[in-house]
Symmetry: C2
Subunit: 318 residues, 2 copies
């Protein structure tokens, strides 16, 4: 096989990480550039090019590369465009896949970051061999990638799978960054956990290690570290977050009846502290026919590689 | 073409309707038997056979029939079984497609009634030409059939698309027939509308034509007839039902980004009285990227034929 490698590009609001990946899912080399410092998308691509072409040359040059897969905020698989991404400098519609393809003279495809993660999980991770699963990414936001019959669901317009913005987790609930209320993201994101921590500490008199941390900067990791020491407030934060997430998952199951739900991202570092309440409350809220049958798994890809792997996996199918 | 007809069987809890359908979706002939009087599924099939074989003979005999499609409560497309249907006499797992196929000596396939309706709508109705839509059936219960990339979603186990039992429409809301609380079905079914009518009449002092009807027997049609006369309570019932249904639809859009949502069943007879609040509240709750873009349509199949047509359409793909 001549074209034996693919490139994965994981574009975040702050940094962009990219790497060369072989057919077995080994990330052979990796590098990164800043995303947020570039006001002009062409200069940003120049910056990626200058770094990435070195890695490409190290594996034998561009003729060895089958294609480039990009995971990007608000990335649309159908058009290859990044469309109105709120956390990027480039406004409007950016034909990013086309620009990359022209710059490198190889095909490029693009999808959003959570979809890329789902493809990575299906190709190399916890969802290997599965035809029906839902990936939930729990990070700064809450994203999702839905796989049905072995294919990612893009929907009519390419934007399917915005499960972080299902709004009925709590009717008239917390204000979300999207401007609506009660979205899952307002509870299960990093920021959502910090809000829960503040709310619980305000209403409870319980002593807590978390009271030593400025309320606005509490992270999932802080809550986890406190939980390990038996901190009751920390355990209550995970119980509440897990309850809301578990209830939301039970509704997602009613939609696509997946074999498994795969969780990825910061919150999963809390391990059983978060997994137990998620599973308990999902089970309580499932229709009888699904009780005990839906796996809830953590991603088994290394977090540092997962996004690059996922994006790269897209490029095998060009 | 030798085998130029298919048979559609629509099994309800009370009656079973079946008919012969041609490739253009014309229902050539139709008949029915009782479902609920048969305690033995084999005798029930004998009963269908005796009626249906006459219709089959009228079109030239069994050699003209490509296959039989069945829409049945709790029908599983993968297995051909009816599994633990709460509103049928036959308990446990019934290999209904196999029994029908053996009796008639033609292939038979089976799915649940809402999935059959979705296939009918895609083949002959309002969803012709659509690859991505969601069908919601509003009847005694609330069912759904989800089509993605032109294919019905069955999920890992064959039971995907239970959107009537997404439970987060109202947290800790109404008790549903499934034993859980807050399901969409507890609000948007015929019974749900009657419950809303009772609740509104208990809490409001407003005069209403509906006060002349025993509260437990109020139907969507009664509410519609009152609404036509400007009855404020009736309008409030549709506003409340439409609000909950519209909010639920906005979450469904976040899942599969459909081109349209097709509504079918009793409640749709209320026309704009129910459609306007549904659309208004769906739009209010959609992410900005979908606002103004998702069609909400009523089925355009004759209600008497739709279920038979949908079931029959399955049989073309055997």
């Amino acid at each position: 096989m001549d074209k034996q490698y693919v490139v994965g590009v994981d574009m975040g609001g702050t940094n962009t990480v990219f790497g060369i990946v072989d057919a077995r899912g080994n990330v052979l080399s990796k590098s990164a550039v800043k995303t947020s410092t570039h006001m002009d998308v062409n200069l940003y691509i120049d910056d990626i090019y200058n770094e990435l072409i070195k890695l490409i040359d190290d594996v034998g040059g561009i003729s060895k590369i089958k294609g480039i897969g990009v995971g990007a905020p608000n990335g649309n698989f159908y058009t290859g465009n990044i469309e109105f991404a709120p956390n990027l400098n480039w406004k409007g519609v950016i034909p990013f896949a086309k620009l990359m393809s022209e710059k490198f003279a190889v095909p490029a495809v693009l999808t959003n970051d959570a979809n890329a993660a789902a493809i990575g999980e299906m190709t190399y991770g916890a969802a290997r061999g599965m035809k029906n699963f839902i990936m939930i990414t729990l990070g700064t936001g809450v994203g999702s990638g839905i796989v049905i019959d072995g294919k990612l669901v893009y929907g009519h317009d390419g934007f399917a799978g915005e499960l972080g913005h299902t709004c009925s987790v709590r009717y008239n609930g917390r204000l979300c960054g999207c401007g609506r209320t009660g979205c899952l993201e307002a509870y299960a994101s990093a920021n959502g956990v910090a809000r829960t921590a503040r709310e619980i500490m305000e209403t409870s008199k319980e002593e807590s290690l978390l009271r030593n941390i400025p309320a606005e900067s509490i992270t999932s990791k802080d809550v986890h570290d406190a939980a390990v020491q038996g901190d009751k407030v920390a355990l209550e934060i995970f119980e509440y977050t897990g309850k809301i997430l578990g209830e939301a998952l039970s509704d997602f199951v009613a939609f696509s009846a997946p074999e498994a739900i795969i969780l990825f991202g910061g919150l999963t570092k809390a391990g059983d502290y978060i997994l137990k309440p998620i599973v308990e409350h999902m089970e309580k809220n499932l229709l009888a026919l699904w009780q005990g049958k839906i796996k809830v798994l953590f991603s088994d890809l290394k977090e540092a590689d997962a996004a690059v792997l996922g994006a790269s996996a897209l490029a095998w199918e060009i």
